[in-house]
């Protein structure tokens, strides 16, 4: 118990800020706040940093988003991953440091992506990129079959197997993209960096109440009855975000954009024999067949879904999912139909790929917002903030989100009315200023969004 007894009166331990969730977005918020002098406590239901949905992230680092600010934020994120040790203040982590695998990122020009808008956004933001012809792609990735297979179908549809005579147009290649080798470790790295600056983390604890005094948030209560006090509480609870919002008075009701948990699967398929995808391959976004893929240890293709319209969506209760699926983020079970859908789609592009009979991969949850754009915002309860609804597309932005949230919290606590006069957040590395009101909970649904993992 952390409650301390003074003269017979039990005093709750006090912090400047409590962060709920030690994932890859919660940890950098703690880290940035600590650097600003905040005494923070991060609480997490699991046993270490990054063990929730962060662990199941594909940890793709790419810049193609459907909005200018989306591209800018992602491109800013590149700079953190490319300079990871410095970002962490050269902290030592006994588990080692996560590694940014700078493979470069291919966005195939297809009807599945509004790549012209992406290219325009790249030009405005100043993202380095190359245009690749079909011949150039073939030279760089000989295993790709560059026929066009659009529209995206499921293998249950007989037309899925039709041969194509149409060809794709080419690709936009972003040399600074890639993926992070170990997403869980990256969150752990940030936790260690935050701890050096005085942040505290406690694990295996569950928040059951967010307390307030009628005017503002005052702290959280854990399942075992322990109470921690703070005048700032930040919800970074991933797939549990809506449950935490519902615990805080008026917060859930005050959000025009809501979050909920979506079941998602990623698959592993061996690279074709003779092709060293792990060392020679690129992260590829392939809207033509509704998937993305990147190299994985064991010379595997790691295949994720871009949520094409023909795929069913399974919205679940996160507590039921994690309780019933044999353990969070690891040994959950893939569905046979989705295994076939994602692997067969990938095999349209990589026809020499072999597909094992036994599904292999990871099933976990996205914390999804109504328009698949995150909510980085204050709330209707003063002192209560949220960094939620990352919808499977914010991993790469995590360090930027940490900086944005810390600045927002600090400014709001010092009197900024972020709802009326939204924070104008300057991106440290690329110098561009973005309107943080873009991520407001009060926004109307943003129809510029892709409404998918692409954000």
């Amino acid at each position: 118990m952390s409650n301390e007894s003074q003269g017979g009166i039990t005093m709750n331990k006090k912090y400047d800020a409590i962060i709920i969730g030690a994932g890859v977005i919660g940890s950098p918020i703690a880290y940035e706040l600590a650097q600003m002098g905040y005494k923070t406590l991060t609480v997490d239901k699991l046993s270490d940093a990054g063990m929730g949905s962060t662990a199941a992230s594909c940890a793709i680092v790419r810049a193609h988003y459907s909005t200018e600010d989306g591209v800018a934020m992602a491109y800013e994120g590149f700079k953190y991953w490319l300079d990871w040790e410095n970002y962490l203040g050269n902290v030592k982590d006994e588990k080692g440091l996560a590694k940014f695998m700078n493979t470069g990122s291919i966005l195939l020009k297809s009807q599945g992506h509004d790549w012209r808008k992406v290219k325009k956004n790249y030009d405005v933001v100043g993202v380095a990129y190359e245009e690749w012809s079909v011949e150039k792609i073939k030279a760089m990735v000989p295993v790709y079959d560059l026929h066009e297979f659009w529209p995206v179908r499921r293998p249950e549809d007989p037309e899925f197997f039709d041969e194509s005579t149409r060809m794709l147009e080419g690709a936009i290649f972003c040399p600074e993209g890639g993926y992070v080798s170990d997403p869980e470790l990256s969150a752990h790295n940030i936790m260690r960096a935050a701890e050096i600056r005085g942040s505290e983390f406690i694990f295996n604890v569950e928040v059951v109440a967010v307390r307030d005094n009628g005017e503002r948030v005052t702290g959280v209560t854990l399942k075992d009855g322990t109470e921690y006090d703070a005048s700032v509480v930040v919800n970074v609870a991933g797939p549990h975000s809506y449950k935490i919002n519902q615990m805080a008075k008026g917060v859930w009701e005050g959000c025009n954009i809501k979050t909920k948990a979506l079941r998602h699967e990623v698959m592993y398929c061996p690279s074709p024999e003779g092709y060293d995808y792990l060392n020679d391959g690129y992260h590829t976004s392939d809207g033509d067949v509704g998937i993305y893929y990147r190299p994985e240890v064991g010379n595997m293709f790691l295949i994720g879904s871009e949520d094409p319209e023909c795929d069913p969506q399974e919205w679940v209760d996160p507590d039921e999912f994690y309780a019933g699926k044999g353990g969070p983020g690891r040994d959950n079970q893939l569905s046979d139909a989705q295994w076939k859908a994602q692997c067969y789609r990938c095999a349209r592009r990589v026809s020499a790929m072999t597909i094992p009979n036994q599904p292999r991969g990871v099933a976990d949850l996205y914390d999804c917002s109504d328009d698949w754009i995150p909510i980085y915002d204050k709330s209707d309860l003063p002192g209560f903030y949220m960094a939620i609804g990352s919808s499977g597309n914010q991993y790469k932005n995590a360090p930027v989100a940490g900086a944005l949230m810390a600045e927002m919290i600090d400014k709001c606590e010092k009197g900024l009315d972020h709802d009326k006069d939204p924070l104008q957040f300057k991106l440290r590395h690329i110098g561009r200023t973005i309107d943080a009101g873009f991520f407001s909970r009060k926004r109307e649904i943003n129809y510029n969004s892709s409404f998918s993992v692409n954000g």
């Binding site: 699926k325 079970q333 046979d336 067969y344 072999t354 597909i355 009979n357």
Partner: protein
């Protein structure tokens, strides 16, 4: 020569099996080609490449969904399939009778391959019953097959790491072990090709077999509780690695290959 491969549609070993009272399992999970049967299919396909005019026929007994498993075998290289369709759980006696009837009706088996066991029921009976019904020899846990003019030589794994080398006449039944080969997995073009291969469907009744022929009945199912026991290893990283290798080797019997 006709090589028949008996395959079974089984739950994925990674699936969380839920028991539906009193004696059925929830089927909203992944089912797939029994892993040992993958080795049998692979062996059949390899043997076909060695022998002229050889056809590989995958045979299964199971519910309509078992057709997916036949398609997997076809995608791995089998030429055609036979599906004996049943809506109820057949015991190994009935399964063997159905396989025997299907194979006999198709005619002239040169060799019958199957996995050494099915990972669901692990009855270890069907292959022996099929051989007995056909009055032909059988060997199981086979890690090597060499065809000769006058028969086949197989190497069977024995307990305590020994091997038994057996000479059999053809036709015979061979139960494949994991060590027999590394199954080739299909590419999408293989899967597309398999969609067009013939699967002959037969009803149990048409083979003169019915539920009354079963001599075994499942009267209950209980979940197997797998206990994961954490072990902690103290000491430096170097000492811990040495100790981990020792425990894997001596306690878990896992041999590490450098």
């Amino acid at each position: 020569m006709k090589i028949f491969v008996c395959v079974k549609h089984v739950p994925d070993s990674a699936a969380t099996i839920r028991i539906i009272e009193p004696k059925e399992i929830g089927e909203n999970i992944t089912f797939l080609l029994n892993p040992y049967d993958e080795n049998a299919v692979e062996a059949a396909v390899q043997l076909r490449s060695e022998i002229d005019d050889t056809e590989v026929i995958a045979v299964t007994v199971g519910k309509p969904a078992a057709a997916d498993t036949l398609r997997s075998a076809l995608a791995m290289g089998a030429d055609r399939g036979i599906h004996v369709i049943t809506e109820y759980w057949p015991d190994s006696i009935v399964t063997a009778r159905a396989l025997n009837a299907a194979i006999t009706q198709d005619g002239d088996p040169g060799l019958i391959l199957t996995g050494k066991a099915a990972i669901d029921s692990e009855g270890f009976q069907t292959q022996f019953r099929v051989a007995a019904m056909l009055d032909i020899p059988v060997a199981t846990n086979v890690g090597a097959i060499t065809l000769h003019d006058d028969g086949v030589e197989v190497t069977c794994g024995q307990e305590a790491g020994g091997e038994l080398i057996i000479q059999m006449s053809l036709p015979c039944v061979i139960g494949a072990a994991k060590t027999l080969n590394t199954p080739r997995y299909p590419t999408l073009p293989d899967i597309i090709k398999a969609r067009k291969k013939e699967i002959k469907e037969m009803k149990f009744e048409s083979l003169g077999i019915g539920p009354q022929d079963s001599h075994m009945e499942i009267i209950g199912l209980r979940p197997a509780v797998e206990e994961r026991r954490k072990q902690f290893i103290d000491g430096s990283a170097q000492e811990a690695v040495v100790e981990l290798i020792r425990r894997l080797d001596e306690e878990a019997k896992i041999k590490l290959v450098s």
